[in-house]
């Protein structure tokens, strides 16, 4: 703790010194704080994710003396309630009402779509720290829209090869029937079928239904070689438990990391052996990750997770852009800001990554497995994977 605070004091001092060197014409801009609008879920199902992202981002900024490009930062927090109906309104409120320089958000894909739409309309700078909806770095991609997390396709696609390599021929896929579910299953199915695998059945449940028993019975009757599932949050917790209780453990269960991340403790022994792919793993054995996790724990009092990483990297991306333009957020510096952010190489706890032309991370996808109640990393399932960015005109 003391070590960290001393370090941040040193950094703050450095930032202060740097501020003294910038030309005077920025003097007015500097006195005004950079306004960063955090539009995230602070209530409801995704509240914990919103908090983690917020902490991660603030930690990244604090590590730079609480400044971006030499300017103090003011955060404007807005609870998006994970309500897509209010997405565009809330985004407009931050952009037009609170006049934020950067808009950061959010978790829920539907809300993020609304934000992306408003960002396209207004040209506001948007960083998406979680929502994986493909369109944000696909048809809706724009110079001012960035994503530091993943596209839904991205973590799922490599699992297709993993399944094939493990000798599976017939797989059942199951998810909720909504955009993220369709895209994630689509990613896996693409990876699996292009190698010759067969999807026996795709089961799509109404979102957010959590009574799986009927469908587990159905899976048992289909007797596939493996099951690929996409669920998150409470649905993930319950699905894995029910899957084990229904005696299906003889059929390997696969998914993206969301199937176990954050709910592993609740799943207990039921999660044993579950294979997942994701762009991060808590157990990632790198110095960067270990350092990050320790600092995050000290900073927020909670264990870091993938959301904290994504929040942290959003903060890093902000800092890189702002440093490049020395804190100038005026329209004249916009092109330079975007160029610097697009070219950023981010030294993330997940491993360094760059951004694709559609502004989505080009990143390693790890293969993980639950063993003895712990998520362990088996290796990299796909190195430097880029989202195909279907429909994006600038990619």
């Amino acid at each position: 703790m003391t070590r960290i605070s001393r370090r941040s004091v040193l950094q703050a001092g450095a930032a202060f010194a740097a501020a003294g060197l910038v030309p005077t014409r920025f003097a007015i801009g500097q006195t005004a704080k950079v306004r960063v609008g955090l539009m995230l879920p602070y209530s409801g199902t995704y509240a914990a994710l919103g908090e983690a992202i917020t902490s991660g981002l603030k930690m990244a900024v604090n590590a730079r003396g609480g400044k971006l490009g030499g300017r103090e930062v003011e955060y404007i927090l807005l609870d998006d309630e994970s309500n897509p109906g209010k997405g565009p309104e809330n985004a407009s409120k931050l952009i037009a009402g609170d006049k934020v320089d950067f808009l950061v958000g959010t978790v829920h894909s539907g809300v993020a779509m609304g934000m992306a739409k408003v960002a396209t309309d207004t040209g506001a700078m948007l960083i998406i720290p979680n929502a994986g909806v493909g369109a944000a770095t696909g048809p809706l991609c724009a110079p001012n829209i960035f994503r530091t997390s993943f596209s839904n396709w991205q973590p799922a696609y490599p699992m297709g090869k993993v399944a094939w390599d493990r000798g599976m021929k017939n797989v059942v896929t199951i998810s909720w029937k909504y955009g993220a579910g369709e895209e994630q299953l689509g990613g896996f199915e693409e990876g699996f079928t292009q190698l010759g695998g067969k999807i026996v059945k795709r089961i799509m449940l109404p979102f957010p239904n959590e009574e799986f028993q009927a469908n587990l019975t159905e899976i048992a009757s289909l007797k596939p070689d493996g099951v690929f599932a996409f669920f998150a949050g409470s649905g993930a917790l319950k699905f894995v438990k029910d899957y084990a209780a229904a005696g299906l453990k003889s059929i390997p269960l696969m998914g993206t990391g969301f199937l176990t991340d954050g709910v592993l403790a609740g799943q207990g022994a039921a999660a044993e052996g579950v294979l997942t792919t994701l762009h991060y793993a808590d157990a990632l054995d790198t110095p960067e990750n270990k350092k990050f996790r320790a600092e995050f724990k000290a900073f927020s009092g909670k264990e870091a997770d993938v959301y904290a990483v994504q929040g942290y990297d959003s903060g890093q991306l902000l800092a890189i852009g702002m440093d490049a333009v020395k804190g100038d957020t005026a329209a004249g510096s916009r092109a330079a800001l975007i160029a610097a952010m697009a070219a950023a190489e981010i030294r993330s706890p997940r491993g360094a990554f760059t951004l694709s032309k559609a502004h989505n991370p080009v990143q390693d996808i790890y293969l993980r497995q639950v063993k003895n109640g712990q998520e362990i990393v088996l290796g990299v399932a796909h190195k430097a994977l880029a989202d195909p960015a279907k429909g994006c005109k600038s990619a």
């Binding site: 469908n215 917790l237 005696g247 003889s250 709910v263």
Partner: protein, 286 residues
């Protein structure tokens, strides 16, 4: 789907239906006797689940946690009746709807302030944490069977209480003619408080015993509430027997809807309700 799997699906449907009955019985009881429409019923379900989760951090046994959670729920229920709901008996249903709607918001926020937004799970007790193999690939979790047994036992128990005891007589009198309860010289205040607390306990018990097979998280009461409304409407408001059959009907409709017409699984439940109402506007057993 061969006959074997068909039978297992029937079992799934009945098990889900029995659990629904336990939640819905409290809702229909409160209405039958008190004429109160309680939107916050789902919140008691959530309360039961969270209390169980919370108590399990201090005690080892699920059974003990549930046993401890029930009196707490009863007290919460009784206090809400005494402090808020009591004012509403002379008001119309609209005010009841609104007040209990306000209660939902408060419950949801209180849950968040007390237990945060994380999603939790509760372990199935070791003694019941095994499955009966049914086919080579499928086994049936014993805990689910245990839940069904508890629900069925409570249903039978409730039937006897209602048919054979004085308390049951009041319930029947209340369901058919609410003014009569007062005319029978019963301490209405106490009865209503007790009934509301009982309703809360039934919902909390459902949430508690379902905790090991569900995920405990924010907003978990809302989904349960709406489906219970459907059950109660189908069965006939105030009728325990109706709630029982309605719950089984919905359990089966939901289960088979998911397998046969997954695109309209939730919708099918409401379609069943619409058909019942078309034939019997006041439910099956009003």
């Amino acid at each position: 789907m061969d006959i074997w799997f068909f039978l297992i699906q029937v079992l799934n449907g009945i098990q889900y239906g029995l659990l629904l009955f336990l939640v819905a019985s409290g809702l229909t009881l409160i209405f039958g006797i008190m004429g109160i429409i309680n939107l916050a019923h789902g919140s008691f379900y959530m309360l039961g689940a969270y209390l169980t989760f919370w108590l399990l951090q201090s005690v080892d046994s699920l059974l003990l946690a549930i046993v401890l959670a029930l009196p707490i729920s009863a007290v919460v229920g009784y206090l809400i009746e005494a402090l808020l709901v009591r004012v509403l008996y002379r008001r119309d249903h609209l005010d009841q709807v609104l007040l209990t709607y306000g209660l939902i918001l408060i419950f949801n926020e209180a849950q968040r302030m007390l237990w945060g937004g994380d999603i939790h799970g509760v372990k199935v007790p070791a003694a019941l944490n095994w499955s009966i193999p049914l086919t080579d690939s499928l086994s049936y979790p014993v805990y689910r069977i245990a839940i069904s047994a508890v629900c069925a036992a409570l249903a039978v128990g409730m039937y006897f209480v209602i048919q054979r005891t004085r308390f049951g007589m009041w319930i029947r009198a209340g369901a058919s003619n609410r003014d009569m309860v007062a005319a029978l010289g019963i301490n209405v205040k106490l009865l209503f408080g007790a009934v509301f607390a009982l309703g809360a306990v039934l919902a909390a018990l459902s949430g508690a015993i379902a905790a090991p097979i569900s995920s405990i998280g924010p907003g978990m009461g809302d989904t349960v509430l709406i489906i219970c409304f459907v059950v109660v409407v189908i069965g006939g408001v105030g009728s325990i027997k109706g709630a029982f059959l309605g719950a089984l009907l919905i359990g089966l409709a939901d289960t088979f809807g998911k397998v046969l017409a997954p695109d309209f699984a939730s919708f099918s439940v409401y379609a069943v309700m619409a058909v019942v109402l078309l034939l019997k506007p006041r439910g099956l057993f009003a």
